[in-house]
């Protein structure tokens, strides 16, 4: 099927795991009692995301995301949510850093095992899509760093410019 779409490395971008997370996103819902929250938006492509987290005793007890966006942004947010649940906040933030490093270098980060998230490695070869993959992560970072009250903050964006 990937070949149908004309090659051109499309199969590298749209790895099966990514398509699968896009079709059946995990943790795409609102939380009952979130105590962390942030909004993200890339107006240029029309991606919008809201990330909620429940942090208990310094651990990410639960994460949920809602919104709309392309397959890359949705799959990335889904993979991310699965990954950070249960981790200490510090580890979740470290994963954000590792992910961003992966997007800029195009290589799996040393020292952190991101598991399935490494399926997003191919995105680094499509520079215009890096911002799609990064939106959920930057939004999570903002939610975790900002703590409880975030209602007044402007949405996170990974659009380099908006025309």
């Amino acid at each position: 099927m990937v070949g149908d779409a004309g090659g051109a490395g499309l199969d590298e971008l749209y790895r099966e795991i990514i398509l699968e997370h896009y079709r059946s996103p995990r943790r795409k819902r609102h939380l009952e009692a979130p105590n962390r929250h942030a909004d993200g938006s890339n107006p240029l492509c029309g991606d919008q995301i809201e990330v909620e987290a429940q942090v208990d005793d310094g651990r990410v007890a639960d994460v949920g995301f809602t919104g709309q966006g392309c397959s890359i942004s949705q799959a990335s947010a889904s993979l991310m949510s699965d990954y950070v649940v249960g981790k200490p906040v510090g580890d979740a933030l470290a994963a954000v850093g590792a992910f961003q490093q992966m997007m800029t270098t195009g290589e799996a980060p040393a020292g952190v095992d991101l598991g399935d998230i490494e399926a997003l490695l191919g995105v680094a070869k499509f520079p215009v899509r890096v911002k799609c993959a990064s939106l959920g992560w930057k939004t999570l970072e903002q939610a975790l760093k900002r703590g409880g009250d975030a209602s007044e903050a402007t949405p996170v964006t990974t659009d380099e410019r908006s025309m």
Binding site: A5, G6, A8, S24, P43, G46, Q68
Partner: protein
Amino acid sequence: MTLERRVFDIRSIRRDFPILKREVHGKPLVYLDNAATSQKPVQVIAEITRYYRDTNANIHRGVHTLSQEATQQYEDVREQVRALIGGGRPEEVVYTSGTTMSLNLVARGWARHRLRAGDEVVLTEIEHHSNIVPWQQLRDEVGIVLRFIPMLADGTLDMEAARRLIGPRTRLLSVTHVSNALGTIVPVRELADLAHAQGALVCVDGAQSVPHMPVDVTELGADFLAFSGHKMLGPTGTGVLWARHEILEEMEPLFGGGDMILTVTLEESTWNEIPYRFEAGTPNIEGVIALGKAIDYLTALGMDAVRTHEVELLDYALRRLGDVPGVTLFGPPDAQRRGGVVSFDLEGVHPHDIGQVLDSHGVAVRTGHHCAQPVMAALRVPATARASFYIYNTPEEVDALAEAVSDAARFFGGPTTGAARGAAHGG
């Protein structure tokens, strides 16, 4: 549909555009992003080189031969532009860097000095950002009031609302002639008559009409007309603001500097004649001269023929895309009532992903909000995919588009289409 049936010889036109021989990802390039910028024929490309090899000199300031030749060539294009759009005199043609600068010149050079707090400027919901933002800036500065004619579900304007909104406080109506996001052709004359009846002036954004159809400022009822050279076979960084002479007379220059003055003392300066007072500094000389070749090219084809060709392609594209399951077409359903632009989305597939799959087929379309976020808001979609046509596009390329879109549907649909839909539109 075949190439032979066309209104002009597409095969020979295509030979004039070197870039159309390119391959993208191993597939022949199918360039359908003409609303963003057009490709350039050899005649335009060669003219830029010719200018630098034979003529290059600064204009309006040398007695030497090269300067006089450059000045002549640069000035001759004003008459070409005038003839293309039916203006009264060549001095009414002000060269700018594009539509954006032209519209800002209307806002800053005219409205900034002529309008006061409470005066109303009427726009529409389907404007490009470049016909919204300068007016918002002016509102914040001067206190003018902005009114927006709403869009109906089919992408046309609510004319009844227009009749209510254009009133005695209206000083300017600024509207696009053709929507770049939906293709809607705006009934500019009807709106202009309403505005003129209230003593208001009319500014038309011709970025998507002047390249694609016959445009006559008198027939349109335009007092200002803004457009870009790069969307009509010309180089980037070229554009025009046309305005009636007496209106240009009452406008202030945006920039001060060389070429726009008559006399300068340490205390004060006097402005040069129209249009030079709006063209401070050394302009895009080779761009303007090459724009002249672009106008030659279009005029030789005939703007009526250009329009007929695009309507045929558009009609075919609306049918072909309409047949792809899951495709929603936006904008007026009738090809006669729209420019050569098809905005669409595909159920369960985000426009960004459509664009990526199409690119892998060599098909170049634009995806996103098309600098018209209010249109996206009115349609309640985050973005659309947009194919837009020009003189060199063929029915076979429309076929390639439709097949690539079907492929995107298969690619993302897969076995769990329902879930994919949930992912795309959920939340």
